[in-house]
């Protein structure tokens, strides 16, 4: 496992191009495009203000940089560095901007969700979509880029509009039986749309592409409902994480629940492997004082090594007691993601923030639990294989695969606090993002992970 040198970064804006050739990163108002392998700077663009959002077009030819404060979007071309485009939303303001799947249109959401403006890079034409709903996930494109599903709110009712992306024609428009639609998500095959209600009510609806309601699922009433939803890449399963700390998996044939994954705080089944991150104090160097100096004073060398230990069951995990009187309590399944082969499901229960649960979808049972020393910030599956990268905001990145898991110390000057990770398309490298730096981690072979069970990878 090799690490690149550390580069500057702001606002965690670092993205691989969809074709995997380039890496775009932002430093304040500058956009830097590097070669993903050599990390040499290919292009450098300067925006008008601090960049708040970047997005590659699907064909990797353009990058849009959103400057929300100014209500501006700047688009840069990789092929023609001199080409430039600036979209000004004016007094309407800007809260979100994204590419259409064809890479020739930009969808800008104005402030107060007054409308969505569709700007075309090919023609002068501008389209407006009225009544977009201000919600968690109101815009979703199908994988093939043909259709856009949009959550709308009109006359205190939720609607979903399905538009054809090629000419922005409305294909279907239907109301959803929800109190307050919170999100919509296409299945990867682009034929089924899942729509779920806000957290006040547990309700998930499944619609066909032609707007027929396929199924409604409600696990319980009178309690906080759905917190997270994920489709399996095979479109076979729909995992629904809720505030009761359970993941329910629906199947694609009957849309009924197959199984229910609870997240108990104690694990007593001996079949479940519990990896526990254990701190390993560095070996004392001769001539140094025995008692450890305070962390801040000790400097970069003070970062303790850690490794995974297989804990013997029963294991009780650290749980947070949620504050009941605050909004958005830290309970429920906050994140869940299927592995690219749909064989594994990784979940995080917000009441047990230090643990990542990995479920075997084929056997429909818990496979492993990773208990970290600090709260899990984010995890992401390798796009090519069943390999999960986890970061906890510390100077380590953790990798899990069915063969085992490793904890890798990120080298470099100062504390490199990994706040986010981002896989390269090929799964060969991983971008580690900290607050103002990023570096690439190159995973040479899967051997390195497979064999180095519970060991620290070398970081030369």
């Amino acid at each position: 496992m090799n690490f690149s040198e550390v580069f500057k970064l702001s606002s965690l804006l670092c993205k691989f191009s969809p074709d995997g050739k380039y890496l775009a990163s932002c430093v304040q108002y500058r956009l830097v495009v590097r070669d993903a392998n050599t990390l040499q700077i290919r292009q450098l663009y300067t925006c008008l203000d601090q960049i708040q959002h970047i997005e590659w077009s699907a064909d990797s030819l353009f990058i849009l940089c959103a400057l929300y404060k100014r209500g501006l979007v700047q688009v840069w071309s990789l092929e023609q560095p001199e080409w430039h485009c600036k979209i000004d939303e004016g007094s309407a303001g800007l809260v979100a901007s994204c590419w259409s799947p064809d890479g020739r249109h930009i969808l800008n959401t104005t402030e107060f969700h007054l409308r969505i403006t569709v700007w075309s890079l090919c023609t002068k034409s501008v389209s407006y979509i009225k009544y977009p709903k201000a919600c968690q996930q109101g815009i979703t494109f199908t994988r093939d880029g043909r259709y856009l599903a949009l959550a709308e709110r009109r006359d205190c009712k939720d609607y979903v509009s399905i538009l054809v992306c090629s000419d922005w024609q409305l294909l279907r428009h239907f109301d959803t039986d929800t109190q307050d639609l919170a999100g919509i998500e296409w299945a990867p095959n682009g034929c089924v749309l899942a729509a779920w209600d806000s957290c006040l009510e547990y309700k998930i609806l499944v619609y066909s592409l032609d707007g027929r309601l396929l199924s409604t699922f409600c696990a319980y009433e009178w309690s906080l409902g759905i917190k997270s939803v994920a489709w399996s890449p095979s479109s076979q399963f729909l995992a629904v994480g809720s505030y009761d700390g359970k993941v329910r998996i629906l199947n694609h044939v009957t849309w009924k629940m197959i199984t229910e994954f609870g997240h108990p705080a104690t694990i007593s089944n001996p079949k479940i492997v519990v990896y526990k991150e254990a701190e390993k104090s560095p070996p004392l160097v001769l001539g140094r004082l025995a008692f450890p100096a305070p962390r801040a004073a000790a400097g970069p060398l003070s970062s303790t090594e850690s490794k995974y230990e297989v804990a013997s069951v029963p294991v009780s995990l650290q749980t947070l007691k949620p504050a009941a009187d605050r909004a958005n309590p830290r309970i429920g399944i906050g994140a869940l993601a299927f592995s690219p082969d749909s064989c594994f499901l990784a979940t995080r229960s917000d009441s047990v923030p230090t643990a990542v649960w990995i479920w075997d979808v084929q056997k429909l049972r818990l496979l492993a639990v990773l208990e970290q020393l600090s709260a899990v910030r984010c995890f992401q599956w390798d796009p090519r294989q069943a390999r999960l990268a986890i970061c906890t905001g510390g100077s380590k990145v953790y990798l899990w695969s069915p063969a085992g898991c490793v904890s890798v110390q990120v080298p470099g000057e100062g504390d490199f606090q990994v706040l986010s990770v981002c896989w390269h398309l090929s799964g060969d490298s991983l971008a580690l993002l900290s607050k103002d730096h990023f570096c690439l981690c190159f995973l040479e072979t899967e051997q390195g992970v497979g064999t180095a069970f519970g060991q620290r990878g070398d970081h030369t």
Binding site: D88, G90, D102, F112, S120, L121, C122, S125, D167
Partner: protein
């Protein structure tokens, strides 16, 4: 008692009135006395009685006391102490017999009373102890009762408390339920209110939005614009098309196409899955049929209708299925057939497996008993076979024995073999055979000896003849000479010695041994000999039964007697001596075992005699 005494004194003086009074008094007094006696020990009682009686009767008042006693006794039902008075005038006489009888009876009564008293006392004691025991029991039970009552009270109290608690809890539950209901209704009302508020707010918000939209959009905001260096081509290289109804239809078509594709894809997948499942089913079925076919034969043998028919059905089904290429048929037509047949087979298999399970469990339960039973049947058969074989072998052995014995019989004496065959066991036969051979040898020896003896006798006869001749000649000489007797006597002795010497010469080795010991012929030696014989008996190799030895002893003794007699009367009975000599010689050859051999010889003789018996 003293009181009673004072009363008696005047009473004794004369009148019958007094006496009647007296009797009444005495009637009272003995009872009181008795009660006192019960209280007192027996020894002072007797003393008291004595003193009382001594005081009661004095020289003067014998008559009165007697009459008093008579009266008393008669009142108690005893016969009168007086003899039957013939006349009223005549003075009645005391009947001593009656008195004695009365006394005896009284004593008997007294004894009885004492016994009864003792019994009563013991019973009393027993009852007293019983009473104590019962009282103890009673006390204990009372205590128990008390404790249990207390417990019961405690339990009742607890029960009451629990009931109270329960009631409270019920109340609480009810309250909670009410609360929940209330809260739910509150939540519902709040929700409706919230929704209502939300709607209102949203409407307001929408209005504001609308207004804002109008404001923002209608201002003809110059700022809202896009600056592009030059428009880029579309990704697919096509030009944008006009929006027309056509495009809409096309979009619809495309959508449906996509959906159709998806459904087709799914259908294909399902078909594939179905095909695989069918394959599995078919395979399973085949395997089941192959698995169940041996059973089928069995069941047919058993003529079990249910399974038999089912299996035949299966066979038919299998035939049909193999004939028709059912794979290509859609599921609906085949499904029922297939599933039904599979179900049937599955049922059969299940029952079979259950049977097996039952068997296994039985075996487990009964341990090895079942196996034992099974093996026992085999065992029995086997044992029967073996027994038969044994029988056959025995018969064969018998026939062989018979044949052998017949062979032996031809060789040996018919009588003896038959006897042996009849009377003795194999061992004995064996032993007897040995003995027989021994006897034979001995017989031979005897024959030899007899021959030698006859020779010796002949010689003796010759010698005697010579002697007679000599004697005749000597007598003639003497007669002629008429000399002294002394000479004759010495001659006689000489003659005797010559005789003995001649016999010694016949068998000198034999003669030397008996000389070391006492000669059998000695009259004093006979008891010694018997004792020796009894001693040597256990060591004797060819031991015969004790009775036999005893008989042999008796025989021997008789022999010894016989032996003594000839020696004593030898000079007188020469003719007999010759036969008896045989015996004495027979006993001689083996002096130590001689008695034994002798006895055995006698035994043999006895046998021979016995043989003659049947």
């Amino acid at each position: 008692m003293g009181d009673w005494m004072t009363v008696t004194d005047p009473g004794l003086s004369s009148e019958s009135k007094y006496i009647s009074q007296y009797t009444s008094e005495t009637k009272m007094s003995p009872s009181s006395l008795y009660s006192q006696q019960v209280l007192c020990s027996s020894i002072p009682l007797s003393k008291n009685v004595h003193s009382f009686f001594s005081a009661f009767c004095t020289e003067e008042n014998i008559e009165q006391s007697i009459s008093y006693l008579d009266q008393e006794l008669t009142t108690f039902g005893f016969p009168s102490l007086y003899e039957e008075s013939k006349g009223k005038e005549t003075k009645r006489e005391l009947n001593i017999v009656a008195v004695l009888n009365c006394m005896n009876e009284l004593l008997v009564l007294q004894r009885k009373n004492l016994l009864a008293q003792e019994n009563v006392e013991t019973q009393n004691l027993k009852l007293g102890s019983d009473m104590d025991h019962l009282q103890n029991c009673y006390a204990k039970l009372k205590e128990q009762l008390e404790t249990s009552r207390r417990e019961m009270i405690g339990l009742q109290e607890r029960d009451r408390q629990l009931q109270c608690k329960n009631r409270n809890l019920h109340q609480l539950l009810k309250n909670e339920k009410d609360e929940v209901q209330k809260l739910q209704s509150i939540i519902a009302s709040r929700a409706t209110q919230y929704n209502h508020d939300m709607k209102r707010k949203e409407r307001e918000y929408n209005k504001l939005k609308e207004r804002l939209h109008q404001l923002v959009m209608n201002k003809k905001d110059k700022k809202i614009a896009m600056e592009v260096l030059n428009y880029v081509g579309r990704a697919d290289g096509k030009r944008g098309s006009w929006r027309t109804g056509k495009t809409e239809a096309r979009n619809e078509d495309e959508m449906y196409k996509i959906l159709l594709n998806d459904y087709e894809y799914r259908q294909k997948q399902i078909l594939m899955e179905n095909a695989e499942l069918k394959k599995v089913l078919q395979q399973m079925k085949k395997e089941m049929i192959s698995l169940l076919s041996p059973q089928k034969q069995k069941s047919r043998e058993r003529a079990d209708d249910s399974t038999g028919t089912v299996i035949s059905d299966i066979e038919e089904d299998a035939g049909e299925l193999s004939r028709e290429s059912t794979w290509d048929l859609s599921c609906e037509t085949v499904r029922e057939q297939l599933t039904n047949s599979i179900r049937k087979q599955w049922r059969i298999l299940k029952s079979h497996v259950e049977k097996l399970d039952n068997q296994v469990s039985k075996v487990h339960l009964e341990g090895f008993n079942d196996e034992d039973v099974i093996s026992r049947q085999d065992h029995e058969q086997e044992t029967e076979k073996l027994e038969l074989e044994i029988q056959q072998c025995k018969e064969m052995i018998k026939t062989q024995q018979q044949l052998l014995q017949q062979q032996l019989a031809t060789a040996c004496d018919d009588d003896t073999t038959s006897l042996l065959r009849d009377c003795y066991l194999l061992e004995e036969k064996e032993r007897l055979k040995e003995e027989w051979s021994l006897f034979k040898e001995q017989k031979k020896n005897f024959e030899k000896e007899r021959r030698s003896f006859t020779e010796a006798a002949i010689r003796l006869g010759l010698e005697r003849k010579a002697f007679e001749e000599e004697r005749a000649s000597w007598l003639k000489q003497q007669f002629l000479n008429m000399t002294t007797f002394d000479h004759q006597n010495s001659e006689n002795v000489k003659l005797f010695s010559a005789f003995s010497g001649s016999s010694d010469r016949d068998n000198p080795t034999v003669h030397s041994r008996p000389r070391q010991k006492k000669p059998h012929g000695a009259p004093s030696g006979s008891p010694v000999c018997t004792s020796k014989l009894t001693k040597s008996l256990p060591a004797s190799p060819s031991t015969s039964d004790y009775c036999q030895t005893r008989s042999c002893v008796s025989e021997y003794s008789s022999i010894s007697v016989l032996n003594t007699t000839p020696e004593e009367s030898k000079p007188h009975q020469v003719g007999r001596e010759c036969t008896n000599q045989k015996w004495s010689v027979a006993s001689r050859p083996d002096s130590q075992e001689g008695c034994c051999s002798g006895c055995s010889s006698t035994h043999a003789n006895a046998h021979v005699e016995k043989d003659d018996l049947p």
